[in-house]
Symmetry: C2
Subunit: 321 residues, 2 copies
Amino acid sequence: MQSFQLLSEKFNLHFSERNPPLVPASLYAPHEYILQLGGKRIRPVLCLMGNELFDEIHEDAWHVGAAIELFHNFTLIHDDIMDKAPLRRGQATVHEKFGTDTALLAGDVMFVSALEELNKATPSRQPVLLNIFNETARKVCEGQQYDMDYEKASGVGLDEYMNMITLKTSVTMAASLKMGAIIGGALERNQNLIYEFGKKLGIAFQVQDDYLDAFGEPERTGKQPGGDILANKKTFLVIHVLEQGNPEQKKLLQNLQRSGEKNKVERIISLYKDCGADAWARQLKDRYMDEAMQHLEDIAVITARKKPLKDLAEFLVIRNH
Amino acid sequence: MQSFQLLSEKFNLHFSERNPPLVPASLYAPHEYILQLGGKRIRPVLCLMGNELFDEIHEDAWHVGAAIELFHNFTLIHDDIMDKAPLRRGQATVHEKFGTDTALLAGDVMFVSALEELNKATPSRQPVLLNIFNETARKVCEGQQYDMDYEKASGVGLDEYMNMITLKTSVTMAASLKMGAIIGGALERNQNLIYEFGKKLGIAFQVQDDYLDAFGEPERTGKQPGGDILANKKTFLVIHVLEQGNPEQKKLLQNLQRSGEKNKVERIISLYKDCGADAWARQLKDRYMDEAMQHLEDIAVITARKKPLKDLAEFLVIRNH
């Protein structure tokens, strides 16, 4: 059983040994660029851990992990175009650096690279893996569309927002684990449990992400505080105020969002507190985290094998109790 | 052995019986829109004919045909974004009608739909089909990148232009035939021959397309004459003048391309004739068409089975001798 740190390092080594095409450079330079921006490689490690929960890591898990990582980076390139994001991990986004047309196409071909990695897995296993891969890719696209639709919509309910987050963020984590579990020989019940574990962990992670944007300490999160607030992004906190706040609080939030005043971030954070959004978000996160852990508990393998996944979950999402 | 017309109608019937997702409508409306714009469904029919050349049509060929058609439409959506094209088959392009962000994402998810169709084929055959599908998708992306690069470049040689056309247009036709042939049980030699047939047919088709833009009769082509000339698009004719014209002719072409004068189209067409580009293009087309037909000849099945493919090739590309 190997730790997140170790598997992450091993994955990066494997990943760097791929021999991706380099010509035409105008198409492939963006690949090298975004992949060297780093990232924690959480998804491929989830695939490796999903495998190792049930059996020794099989060659297929490295390929599927690479497929997931490439797919994830494809979505980052295209999402950044749609979101007109200037920065990714503190550096220029692909479309900022290489132009939108090249970014679009470089994203497309990165999707193809993901499929090529999947195509390296044991042939008899490919149809099942491709099925999960496709299902996940479709959901991620649908999540991104809902995200764009909701940015323009005035009223978005918690259920709708939760569904969007699940599609956009959680299912990739869930699918990574499930594909790993399938490679490890897990039977259907365990496959479903690990999928649900990943899905709920993903939701808890996103709730925490939204929470930390307002209430996190910049020196710990490494992010500009209030970034979501300044971008008027819909978050769990916004949804809570709009659903649970009194009419004055809702009105105030909408007015503050439209305003360009200097202390906008502080005033909205203070409004969140008045509505109890901070405590509510912490509880919501804990609830999903507890449910995730329960699914992990229910998987029929000895507890010792679950430790790396448990550690990783607790590293990703800090519980408050 | 069934004709193009019959197979095209049958394919459209099969294709219309798919049950694609409809929600969120903001994501899926563009799919219905572009697919109902029509098109001749040449690629899926090539897949069906590739199958029927060797054996009765297998269920898999309908799925792979659908996969190819969806993939082709995905490339049309994204290419139109990159080319800033306002019209496709006489109607607004997807990004014009639905906005660029939605078009980008609708393209992505159409790629996923293509993979889902591939995933419906007989499992044991999927890895081989996925391999050809991926290889083709990568080449098409590379072709589009070369196309964009060459639009900005001053000097592009015939070899480079030919390679770009092969990647962007021909390999999809070639791969459609090859995947059909594999489904029909063709062995490697015949798979390769049908691939080469498709590749050369595709090149001949593109040479003809470039030729007809300048020398076609609008009432027969159904296209605005000189569209490529007005868009300063690189074509086989442009490449020929720049490679084979004398210094004055090259200079004149470049000046005319930059100019906004009213009779630009007529003057460039007249320059093409002075350089012999029309006769050269007709010969080039015939040469590729002859080579394509020779590959078809060499395939080891009785001649009668080859008739629909021969008819289709001759319908797509009219020979001059």
